[in-house]
Symmetry: C2
Subunit: 337 residues, 2 copies
């Protein structure tokens, strides 16, 4: 079965479970609160999927791993909902922390409802993630729910430390490449690694297979982030300066930029002097390329992708989900936007 | 054994477990993040208890309930840490939402480190609470950890809905007394009810005893909040206007104030006209008293206390913890500050 066929099968089930979790707050007195949650999830009263729901990559990855260990994957649905809810909780809080008014072209929760309400919406989504992972105990053994819960919470703590590192270096310009790896390990890799690990546990995989899936998820996350950083400087939107899409304007802690700073050349001098205007972005990207940042970043992305593929091969995925998994990896890592 | 003897026994164990949970972030790279957490918990590097740690009422209540069902209570320590961590997570986020610069005379986390960092500190504390409750699986059966986890998460969701109600009515002056009960059920009663319920489960109590403890915790929480609201208007600090301690100045959603508004008399007209200055607080409190708000609030506190005591009697607490539990109830409900 192709990835898109698998997704057609899995996505409606994921969306139903997300609804089931969030509907805990569907009460008359809480109507405006419930609407904040459904707004963030990209749902509208009569139309579940309008293209604003996000890609649901994490739950799909989790279910594909379960399904590549064992044909049964329906019992893993609450875990799939849990990782998506954790992702969304972190988006809601990140948007406040980064002062971002827009996400996918729509007003962010804090921008629409204010910071106090947005903090509370994030807290509710996190709580629902915790409820969803405990719901695993209904379909599986309690021990598996505990195991999955512990992995998920470790990933959540990693998210907070990644976020801490990101925020502390925001205005300092002295993040090292070592700090960068620690940061994206927490911010991006930890949750993807939790997805693949939990997926394998719920697929009844043996210890060594679970471990290979854990490594696969982590390296996939790292590769994904590095590729994202590449697109953030040299992607089409970044170069043409559409909607401030360049990481060079945002002053993000991004691998090519940190590499450029570490070179202490022309780019580093220009970077330290003052912020870049939209008109200077293409030239700064060119400067970075000439100093080797593009090649360095591209090589890192390839190195991590090879490592991820190697772990996936060792995990030995089986059945129809195996092809879909390989296709998903390709889609995430060989993308231009 | 008296309450203070029980506390001497339990508090060091609670504090050690809180340290064990929070020390997950005690890493060289994360030093400033770890310091934010220990600062909030009231710890300083060489001196664990300096009187700034808060009263740890929730974990004490939980352990006393366990201990009044069964002499063994040490295995319940992770749950005690979990409820205290949830309480602290909610304080950190509440202080941002309420724009409070001080707590117990010390700068709040957001005031000291900024809103983005404070959101992250709260998220980390919540995560650690989730980790602590799952740690129950090490000393108890996995099923008990799942059961306790579900109760704790339900209470967390209730916290978010109570917080939502509080915030939505903040600037509107049209909260009804019905809304008030729903709000404090979420904001105060839910977590205390989770403490007593989890305590009973970990004390291996039977279903009907667990249920009586659940009711006891909820009614204790409601009575506690109503008593707090009474002190917030007529307590000594409130009347003398020390450090803006009066709920009348803060415009809080408090029971006597809502009662006064519902009377539509002199107080309601003065209240609706404009905010009160420090000099007007004592007079407004007197006005409220004359319109019956003091008697109404006091009677509600007594009604709820009787209901709580009744449930506690039905739960039939045993052993030395039983006396301490009764003493704790008295201490919480017959207080003046």
């Amino acid at each position: 079965m192709s990835l898109s066929q698998q997704m057609d099968l899995m996505l409606p089930k994921i969306e139903d479970e997300l609804h089931r979790q969030i509907d805990r707050l569907d009460q008359p007195r809480l109507r405006p609160f419930y609407e904040m949650l459904t707004y963030h999830m990209g749902w509208f009263s009569n139309n579940k999927n309008t293209g604003t729901t996000g890609k649901r990559i994490r739950p799909i990855l989790l279910l594909l791993v379960t399904s590549s260990c064992n044909p049964e994957w329906l019992h893993a649905i609450p875990a799939a909902a849990a990782v998506e809810l954790v992702h969304n909780f972190s988006l809601v809080h990140d948007d406040i922390q980064d002062n971002s008014p827009l996400r996918h072209g729509r007003a962010t929760i804090w921008h629409k409802y204010g910071i106090p309400m947005a903090i509370n919406v994030g807290d509710a989504l996190f709580t629902m993630a915790n409820q969803a992972i405990l719901d695993l105990s209904e379909g599986s053994f309690a021990e598996k729910a505990i195991q999955a819960g512990k992995i998920l919470q470790n990933a959540c703590l990693d998210l907070t430390y990644g976020q801490f590192l990101d925020m502390s270096y925001e205005k300092r310009n002295d993040m090292t490449i070592d700090d960068y790896w620690a940061m994206i390990e927490g911010k991006t890799a930890a949750l993807l690694s939790a997805c693949t690990q939990i997926g394998a546990i719920l697929g009844n995989a043996d210890e060594s297979t679970i471990d290979q899936y854990r490594i696969f998820g982590r390296d996939l996350g790292l590769a994904f982030q590095v590729q994202d950083d590449l697109i953030g400087v040299w992607g089409e939107e970044a170069l043409t300066g559409k909607s401030n899409a360049s990481d060079l304007m945002e002053g993000k802690n991004s691998l090519p930029i940190l590499y450029g700073i570490s070179r202490k050349g022309k780019f580093a001098r220009r970077w330290t002097a003052s912020g870049l205007s939209q008109g200077e972005v293409a030239k700064a990207a060119q400067m970075l390329k000439e100093e080797g940042a593009y090649d360095y970043t591209r090589l890192e992305a390839i190195r991590l992708t090879v490592r991820a593929s190697d772990a996936l091969r060792k995990a030995n995925p089986k059945g129809e989900a195996a092809d879909a998994l390989a296709e998903l990896v390709n889609k995430l890592l060989v993308r231009e936007s």
